[in-house]
Amino acid sequence: MPAKIMQQAEAIASSPSQHPSLTQSTPFKAVQRALFYVMMVALALIFAGPLLWMLSTSLKTDPQVYTVPPIWFPNPMRLVNYPEALSSRPFGTYTFNTLKYALGAVAGALLSNTLVAYGFARIRWPGRDIFFIICLSTMMIPFQVRMIPLYLTFKNLGWLNTYLPLIVPTFLGVNAYYTFLLRQFFLTIPSELSDAARVDGCTELGILVRIILPLAKPALAVIGLLQFMFAWDNYIGPLIYLNNESLYPIALGLQQFRTMFSEELMWPYMMAASTAVVAPVIILYFFVQRTFVEGISITGLKG
């Protein structure tokens, strides 16, 4: 227990003050509780508001869009906004393009960061901690510092207008955040397990594959989802490396879409397209929600 906090707790304890919770009557508590839930629902509505507004607009006719005060539940709903919006641009191609490099990047991140994190977490070797600190400190380096030389290197390699700049680095474990996250998970696995396997003559790679990885499935799911979300979301990477529309991922495609319509006519279509871009991520999230929340939690606490 942190001594300072204990001292503070004692200091508070010694200061004269009433005991609110001991004097409160039950009806008062019930009112307090009701108010609390009212506030939570209000906050939830505010936070979900922009997304509900998106969904609502995506189902509106033009007159419904321009009604003041705004309508939340359009009647009738114009479902045909979706096929109309999504067929006005090659959204299928955009999605396919995004998946092409997103899945490559997920594979790369899982493979490389697993190996690197194992080296940092489960093997004792001289110099390990120094290398780990260097690895962590790369998180401080803004992408902008690397951006121009990377662009020029990829240009010289003839990699512009390919997905290689978005995939190859992930195979080389450059995202230190994932390494850190996986290392934290690996550290929680008892070392006796690997020691026993070592005695039985198992190699380190064997230990990683047979013992560590099966236990680290939730952590791998988190890395996979984070990398997938990053790839789905990444705008500046494709913006720099791709300038051929047939290669555009969703992030750039949605922008193409926007330039097609005049500002005042596009809202239902734009919101339908946005909903289509948001939905896959949210659906994916619901599948792995539990592990994902656990995974994020651990990063802020330990290390």
């Binding site: 942190p2 001594a3 906090i5 204990m6 508070i12 003050s17 005991h19 609110p20 919770s21 609390f36 939570m40 939830a44 936070f47 922009p50 997304l51 507004w53 998106m54 009604t67 005060p69 705004p70 190996l115 690197v116 080296g119 093997i123 004792r124 070797w125 001289p126 998180m139 401080m140 380096i141 803004p142 902008q144 690397r146 951006m147 121009i148 030389p149 990377l150 662009y151 680095p169 080389l172 474990g173 450059v174 380190e204 789905w232 979301d233 705008y235 500046i236 720099i240 949605l254 922008q255 734009m270 946005s274 991520v281 999230y285 929600q289 929340v293 994020i296 939690s297 802020g300 606490l301």
Partner: protein, 300 residues
């Protein structure tokens, strides 16, 4: 190299290096080399078509003495970091504290507060462009129906930055989950002791809850700060730096110089200034953290 260097140590060293070898290659090729190259380019004039020409510190001198926009850009970015990061942090901590109360439907509310994180930046830009719309956006449409003056959100110099910060505050799901985990680690016994001894909820929050969560706060503050200095996509899509350069942030101006004006050397100098600013802020936060971060298990 230590004196008692055993073959076993050599073996373990080789094993360790073998496992981290993907990172060693990535670090050399995609981190170390680009940083060194960027440092060199920052001392050159380079338009990609012709070879880079060494000009010493000229880019830096120009940035600091002649470039009016760059001064605005620094001001805008610092505003975004100094206001936006604490705003997001406080909002996340308060929401996490609410979620940490004994309540029904916690997973539901947690999911709602987390959802904005899942919205890709490109979609977020479109949704908020529509929310902020002066004529028919959900807020202004409502205000208009009350007969009040509309709020010009992203189209006004004064409100553009706060409007972007509001979007940032909206999308604090990751920080909320980190804080929620930290809050659940606050020992019940400590809170009970403080309560029995007469600390009111506010005192308990301030003197017990917050100190115990300071490691998580430090983590969120650092990652938030580093991320915010690189703020790009929403600014680029939603306001394009306007109106009147009021949302021209570091990364936007840098991108413009590099990929629209092809001033690669000039942009590299900006990148290095950004790097140094981030390092300085990181150091500042780390050094100050000795005074305000409590680590459980520490004797003091």
């Amino acid at each position: 190299m230590p004196q008692h260097w055993t073959p076993a140590q050599t073996r373990s060293l080789l094993k360790g290096l073998a496992f981290i070898s993907p990172w060693l290659v990535g670090f050399a090729g995609f981190v170390l080399y680009p940083i060194a190259a960027s440092a060199y380019f920052s001392l050159t004039r380079y338009d990609v078509l012709r070879p880079a020409r060494f000009i010493g510190l000229e880019n830096y001198v120009e940035l600091f003495t002649k470039d009016e926009t760059f001064r605005t850009v620094i001001g805008n970015t610092v505003y975004l970091v100094v206001i936006g990061v604490p705003a997001g942090l406080v909002a996340a901590f308060l929401l996490a504290s609410l979620l940490n109360r004994d309540m029904k439907l916690r997973p539901f509310f947690r999911t709602i507060f987390f959802l904005p994180v899942l919205v890709p930046a490109v979609a977020s830009a479109e949704v908020w462009r529509w929310v902020y719309n002066t004529n028919y956006g959900v807020i202004n449409s409502f205000i208009k129906s009350l007969g009040l003056a509309v709020i010009p959100f992203i189209s006004s110099v004064e409100l553009a930055k706060p409007s972007l910060i509001l979007i940032h505050v909206w999308a604090q799901g990751t920080a909320i989950i980190i804080f929620l985990a930290a809050l659940q680690d606050v020992p019940r016994s400590l809170m009970d002791a403080a309560e029995v001894d007469g600390a009111n909820p506010l005192q308990r929050f301030w003197h017990v809850t917050i100190p115990i969560c300071t490691p998580a706060i430090l983590f969120v503050m650092l990652t938030g700060m580093i991320g915010m200095f690189q703020y790009f996509t929403l600014g680029w899509l939603l306001t394009q730096g306007g109106p009147n350069e009021s949302t021209e942030f570091f990364s936007l101006y840098l991108y413009r110089n590099a990929f629209q004006f092809f001033k690669m050397g000039y942009a590299s100098a900006q990148a290095w200034i950004l790097f140094i600013i981030i390092l300085a802020f990181t150091l500042l936060i780390f050094r100050s953290s000795a005074r305000w971060v409590y680590y459980a298990g520490e004797s003091d």
